[in-house]
Symmetry: C2
Subunit: 288 residues, 2 copies
């Protein structure tokens, strides 16, 4: 297992972590100034600054992108809706390529309308079929472009509105079905927050192996958790045994960045951005 205690060579900042404080150009500047070597930006943050400008800033600061957030959201209640999702995913692949991201992260979506609070049905199996078909179509395009897709299984508490892929096993079953050759173009993003509870976690990480482990995200599960979406904890403040989990992914061959992604409306998003980044650095060294 790599030693993280002496530096932050393998720290990446998912830019949602300081989204409330700064726009992306400032985030890039603040990360670069601290010797942070990688980020993972969100599409809306990129759009707000401009894709070409972000690409230039990333090149100038020599930041790597441990991922690009996010494609997915495949299910829709109409054929037009599903086609629009595929178009949007092709654009996301192109943007990820322009930014030279390591992978495009897929939050796959679930019941149509649920994210807006107005689900139009209850057919989870149909949503899962849309997801499978959507990933298959996007994978074809991503192969041509050369941009790996990372399916992110989301915590089951998001099964209705954000993602109907909810365990690592389910994500890997999808990978095996759509990319049996393990081409390296389809894999998973293992986010500690989403998977830490899973009794089959270690076994499925081993199954994933180097070919499928495209991204590793960290934060912490707070006790109590006061909000389903925006109450994630800083590494070390919750109950996830992050060193154990990192040990498992590294044993399975993962050697990339440890990406910090914290949504925290009542705590970290209210603090000074510099304090947040400095804390990410120190906790990366002490708690991951």
């Amino acid at each position: 297992m790599r030693d993280f205690s002496a530096d932050h060579r393998w720290l990446s900042i998912n830019t949602a972590t300081v989204r409330a404080q700064w726009k992306l150009d400032r985030i890039i500047e603040e990360c670069a100034r601290r010797g942070i070597r990688a980020i993972s930006p969100w599409r809306d943050q990129v759009a707000a600054v401009g894709l070409e400008r972000v690409a230039r800033l990333v090149r100038d600061t020599r930041l790597e992108l441990s991922g690009y957030c996010r494609g997915g959201m495949f299910p829709a209640s109409t054929p037009e809706g599903r086609r629009a999702a595929l178009d949007d995913n092709r654009r996301a692949v192109d943007e990820a390529k322009t930014l030279d991201a390591a992978c495009l992260v897929l939050v796959v979506g679930s019941l149509p309308g649920a994210l807006e609070g107005r689900p139009v049905g209850k057919d989870l199996a149909a949503a899962r079929t849309d997801v499978r078909d959507g990933i298959a179509a996007t994978l074809e395009y991503a192969r041509d472009v050369g941009m790996p897709l990372a399916i992110e299984p989301l915590h089951p508490m998001y099964a209705a509105d954000r993602a109907c892929v909810n365990t690592l096993e389910q994500a890997l079953d999808l990978c095996d079905a759509l990319d049996p050759a393990r081409s390296g173009m389809l894999g998973v993003a293992v986010d500690a927050y989403h998977v830490w509870w899973d009794p089959k976690l270690q076994e499925q990480i081993r199954r994933a192996g180097t070919d499928r482990l495209l991204a590793f995200h960290v934060c912490d599960w707070l006790v109590p958790t006061r909000d389903l979406l925006n109450d994630r904890g800083m590494m070390g403040d919750g109950v996830i045994d992050l060193p154990q989990l990192r040990g498992w992914v590294e044993s399975a061959g993962f050697a990339g960045y440890s990406e910090v992604e914290i949504f925290s409306a009542e705590d970290w998003w209210k603090r000074d951005g510099g304090e947040v980044l400095d804390t990410c650095i120190s906790r990366h060294r002490s708690a991951v």
Copy 2:
């Protein structure tokens, strides 16, 4: 599949559903008056009225108990703590027997201290070992008394503080390990709220079969869900396909009560208790 549309012969009320409105003696009276034939009470509600008095009320009204809530909470940080949990579970078995419950439901517990907001560690594997040992010991006693134990896998969002058994597969693996003969004394409580998202749900329900399916709980998953614990929906108000799920458990041989269990601090617990029970009856007929 049984026809629920014409009557409420197979409706049971988990008494937490109207816990904010009434004490247990009144709940029993209100259920009996409406021709509800079964309840599932909580230990604190029973204690508040007195075990013997509740046993008499239940006999007088000819109510059945589809279950008794709850045993479990096995993990502890000290040997004394684990022994105390076993003692408490034996008392719960005795109470369930006194009330002639169909089973004692087990919410197995997880990280010691987490339920009080002060987790003393992060060792989920150790908690799972405590759970396994605790169920094994309790099962020995329960066999003597003749009280089946129903492991309730809880939604993964409760993995830190309430239960480290979080999928039906995991619960059934425990059952197979501790009761390989499928004696009927160890099984599962399938609660729609906890398991609806699981991609392996249908397959694991089939695996459970008649011997292991000891209880079936319903409510609904609201979109959005505003609180991790107390924002459950009335059947029909959320996104769980309850008729499909009931079809699966009945196909696997379950022929018992459909037990309504709704924790709802901001909605159903604020309404008139009679309105809640009447709504449970009508939704049992139309949405389960």
